[in-house]
Symmetry: C2
DNA sequence: CTTTTATATAGATTTATTTTCTATTTTTAA
DNA sequence: TTAAAAATAGAAAATAAATCTATATAAAAG
C-alpha cells in the first residue's frame, strides 16, 4: 500500500506514544475518530504496524550494561551460519544479532547487569556456541540516542 | 523498587504485547484486574515502564537498509564530544548512537531505503558534522534477531 | 462527461476496557 | 500480638474501542 501524509504522521505519533486515544489522534490529524480508527486497522492488517509494546528503562532494572560484540565464525558454510544463528537467538541477553558484511560476520548487541555478568555470559553462554572463531567486545560508555521511531 | 516474580512476568508480557487487556493479563497472572492495574500504574510511576510504542515493520516502509557506522572524532575534548552528540541526535536516519570504548568513539545504527540513500546520507549529512575524524560503515546482510524485550 | 463502483469519512450506537471506589485480606513492622 | 501499611478483590462509574448506517469523495467504466 502507499502511505499518504496522514498515514505517515499517524505512524509517527503511534511510534512515539501508542497510548494516545483515537480521539486525541483525530484532533492532531483533523479527521474523525472513525477515519483514524480505520487507518490504524489498515496499517495493522498490512503488517506495517508490526506490534504494540512496552519499552522498559533498562537502567532501572539492572540491565544498564550494554556491549557490542563483533564476531567471526570459523567457516562460512550455510550449515555453520544456520546452526550459529539458531543458537544465538535463544540467548535472552542478546537483543540484536545482525549478519553483516566486512571484517567480521555478526554484530551482537548484548544487555546485562554489569561487567561481571558479561564475563559470565561470555564464558558460559556465548563462547560455548558452535563454530565461533573469534569475538571482540566493545563497551558502551553512554547512550547518546536510542529510538525505535523510523522516519517514514 | 524491588520487582517480584509477578512484576517480572507482567513486564515480559507487556514488552511482548502492550495491547493485552488487564483482563487477559489477570488470567495469565492469576490476579484480579485491579491488582494487575495497580501493578502497571506503579511500574509506570517508577519509570520502569518508560513508554508505550508501536513498532513498524521497516521492510514494508522502504527502510530496510541498515548500516552500522563506526566513527572516530578528531579530538576527545568534552567540547567536541558534546557538539558532535547534539548534532547527531538530530539526524532521523540515526536510530542509535552509542559512545563506546575501544578502537573508535561511537557506534551508530542507521536506517535508510537503500545504498543510494545511504550514500546521500553519508555525504550530505553525517560527514558534514563537525569534528569527525573517520567513519567505517558495515552493512547488514540479514537481521538474525532484533527485540526490545529485556529479560528481567 | 456521466454513471457505476469502490474507498474513505462522519456521527451515532453498542460493546468492551479502564479507572475509581469501597471493603477485605495479606504483609510488614512496632 | 497488635497496629499500620500495602496489596488485592469485586462492583460501579467513566472512558475508549469497535461496530453500524449513512454520506461524501475518489477512481474506473461506459
Amino acid at each position: 500500500m502507499t502511505l499518504d501524509a496522514i498515514d505517515k504522521k499517524l505512524l509517527f505519533l503511534l511510534q512515539s506514544d501508542s497510548k494516545k486515544t483515537t480521539k486525541e489522534l483525530s484532533l492532531k490529524l483533523n479527521l474523525s475518530v472513525t477515519a483514524v480508527y480505520e487507518r490504524i486497522k489498515k496499517l495493522e492488517r498490512e503488517g506495517i504496524i508490526d506490534k504494540y509494546v512496552v519499552l522498559v528503562n533498562r537502567s532501572k532494572v539492572e540491565k544498564g550494561f550494554v556491549v557490542f560484540c563483533h564476531l567471526k565464525l570459523i567457516q562460512h558454510t550455510k550449515e555453520f551460519l544456520t546452526k550459529f544463528e539458531s543458537e544465538v537467538i535463544q540467548l535472552k541477553e542478546v537483543l540484536e544479532c545482525h549478519h553483516v558484511s566486512g571484517d567480521y560476520d555478526y554484530i551482537l548487541k548484548i544487555v546485562v547487569k554489569d561487567m561481571e555478568a558479561y564475563r559470565e555470559f561470555l564464558v558460559t553462554k556465548l563462547t560455548t556456541l558452535q563454530h565461533i572463531g573469534s569475538t571482540h567486545s566493545t563497551f558502551m560508555i553512554s547512550e547518546v540516542k536510542n529510538t525505535t521511531v523510523v522516519d517514514i
